[in-house]
């Protein structure tokens, strides 16, 4: 009898799960594809390295918009989401953020703008307690990679940076604090997507997310997201 009673809460949870609509939003279906020329036109790159690598000139010569930051101490532009891709060195940068140099800077960037795609750009042999530098970055570009390989890596990273699902995850992380808030936002967004209504999607995002912390960044991420979803729905399919 007692064992039968304890079975009831389990059954109730099971039934609830069965009939509760899942609110998980799958934005991966809305990722547009970009040819190389579009990437060059759209994207901005920053190389944070205490030495200016010649790769910057190679990128510029190909038409990429690329900046060099020798110290990484001023992250204003990163916080405003002005860059799609960061090539981040380990040594000699980020002194303002802690003793772990590039790793300290990396932790700060991940906190203030998780949307930006970051390539670990170092040839230094890191110790085990520095391995977070590879764990927290999105991918690796060896400093002694060839030019063609570097370009291939940068272009594939830019395509990743422009994924709608990536920007969505960052938006939820910054703008929707708390599980309840997140579920509410996801439900509204899912509804807008179901109706394929870009205007409704934009209004929903701005209403639900813009009032929370990260104001200017959230607004810029929403701009980007709407632009990308709009591009997808206007015809450019992956």
């Amino acid at each position: 009898m007692m064992r039968g009673l304890s079975f009831i809460p389990f059954m109730l949870r099971f039934i609830k799960r069965l009939f509760t609509r899942k609110n998980h939003v799958d934005f991966s279906a809305y990722n547009p594809s970009f040819i190389r020329e579009e990437l060059i036109k759209r994207c901005r790159i920053v190389v944070i390295d205490d030495e200016r690598p010649a790769l910057i000139d190679d990128l510029s010569n190909q038409g990429f918009a690329v900046d060099h930051d020798g110290s990484g101490n001023d992250t204003t532009k990163i916080e405003k989401n002005l860059y799609d891709l960061i090539l981040l060195d380990f040594g000699g940068v980020g002194a303002r953020f802690g003793r772990d140099e590039g790793l300290s800077l990396l932790r700060h960037i991940k906190r203030v703008n998780p949307a930006t795609f970051i390539l670990a750009y170092t040839s230094k042999s890191l110790k085990s307690d520095q391995s977070d530098f590879y764990r927290l970055t999105d991918a690796t570009l060896q400093k002694d990679a060839g030019i063609a390989d570097s370009f291939a890596k940068i272009e594939s990273s830019l395509r990743e940076a422009l994924r709608v699902d990536r920007i969505w995850r960052a938006l939820v992380e910054i703008g929707a604090s708390g599980t309840g808030m997140k579920q509410e936002v996801e439900a509204s967004v899912q509804e807008a997507l179901r109706k394929r209504d870009i205007k409704l999607l934009e209004d929903t995002l701005r209403t639900k997310l813009s009032n929370n912390s990260g104001g200017e960044l959230v607004s810029k991420l929403i701009d980007k997201m709407i632009d990308l979803v709009g591009k997808y729905t206007s015809g450019t399919k992956p």
């Binding site: 040839s123 042999s125 391995s131 590879y134 999105d138 400093k143």
Partner: protein, 356 residues
């Protein structure tokens, strides 16, 4: 703290008090058979050293249960004891007299022994300092060499884009470029060797496996040719549906690098190395390398750290160990098979991995 090699310079038998065992031979006086027997047969010796480890004062002389003297000392922070000697001045007792009669070569002035232990401790301290300095400078040295490697590689690449470059000047530059790529691969292996936690990184990149292996093969082709070995790539290449897999971009290239280089090292001249990338089914691919090499005279675990092929061209025995580490990081395992032949053996390494 690991055992120090400096202890082997002790003039008399020595015991590491953190790990009490039969005293190790000194460089002038060896551990007597008497001591070895007593340590093995009875518990008094171990109890004696355990007590010294707890209570002894630096350079204090104590007598062991069987009459030898023992002096505890500090080997740069690690407690040790020199033992198996007859001190002057004597400590006294019948047992000491018996040991002195049987071991006339083990007599030593206490003052000399104390000086010797101080010298050993100083040598250990300097050794540790030298290691520390080396460990600090090594990453920086590698870093500088990698930057130089980058400059060479990228400059060769820029020059090669000149359409007016003739083959007389183009071919050496291609060789330089490939050599530079080989160096880059070696640096990645060194990185992993120095920091094995990199084999715990997540799989963060989608990679086309055939293309990646093809690049490795092209890079190592000149080396194979120089040894009169043919290096061929077969399988599902550009004419078939690409084989994609989720990999760690930092570590995965180590697998084909190590296996190809290993095959070249151990292959006999005028033989072929067959590298194959093949899709087995929609979600499984196989990467394999077959080669022909010298006969293996004994069975060894090729993936064990430090195990080498035993030939003059063998490396340090880390490559296959690291390659297996990376394979496991990717949810796979490299299998090795040896097929004995008449005058040579056929070697096969293969790995199955998830793909789409």
């Amino acid at each position: 703290m690991a055992a120090s090699p400096i202890k082997h310079l002790s003039p008399f038998p020595i015991v590491d008090l953190r790990n009490i065992a039969v005293p190790e031979d000194g460089c002038f006086v060896q551990t007597t058979e008497f001591c070895k027997r007593k340590f093995k047969e009875e518990t008094k010796c171990k109890a004696f050293y355990t007590e010294i480890a707890k209570t002894a004062i630096q350079q204090e002389i104590k007598q062991c249960p069987y009459g030898f003297a023992c002096m505890a000392f500090d080997l740069n922070g690690a407690p040790h004891a020199m033992t198996g000697f007859i001190p002057h001045p004597r400590l006294g007792g019948e047992a000491e007299q018996r040991r002195a009669k049987d071991n006339p070569h083990a007599k030593v002035a206490i003052e000399q022994l104390q000086k010797a232990s101080a010298k050993l401790s100083e040598a250990e301290k300097q050794r540790v300092e030298a290691l520390g300095s080396h460990a600090k400078n090594y990453p920086q040295a590698i870093h500088e060499i990698r930057k130089l490697n980058r400059n060479i590689k990228q400059e060769a690449e820029r020059i090669l884009t000149d359409p007016a470059l003739d083959s007389k000047h183009r071919n050496p530059l291609i060789t330089i470029q490939k050599s530079s790529e080989m160096m880059s691969y070696q640096f990645e292996i060194l990185d992993l060797l120095a920091n094995e936690t990199l084999a715990g990184l997540v799989l963060n990149t989608d990679s086309e496996i055939y293309r990646m292996v093809d690049k490795c093969v092209r890079i190592y082709e000149p080396l194979a040719i120089s040894k009169d070995i043919r290096l061929n790539l077969e399988g599902d290449g550009i004419n078939k549906a690409p084989i994609w897999s989720r990999v760690c971009d930092k570590t995965f290239p180590i697998i084909p690098t190590v296996l190809i280089e290993n095959a070249i090292k151990h292959s006999l001249p005028q033989t072929s190395i067959i590298v194959r990338v093949k899709r087995l089914n929609p979600t499984l691919a196989q990467f394999s390398i077959r080669s022909i090499g010298q006969r293996m005279t004994s069975v060894i675990d090729v993936f064990q750290k430090g195990v080498t092929g035993g030939t003059p061209s063998s490396g340090q025995g880390f490559g296959l160990y690291l390659a297996q580490l990376v394979a496991k990081q990717h949810g796979a395992e490299i299998e090795f098979a040896r097929i004995p032949g008449n005058e040579c053996d056929h070697y096969n390494f293969q790995m199955k991995m998830k793909c789409w």
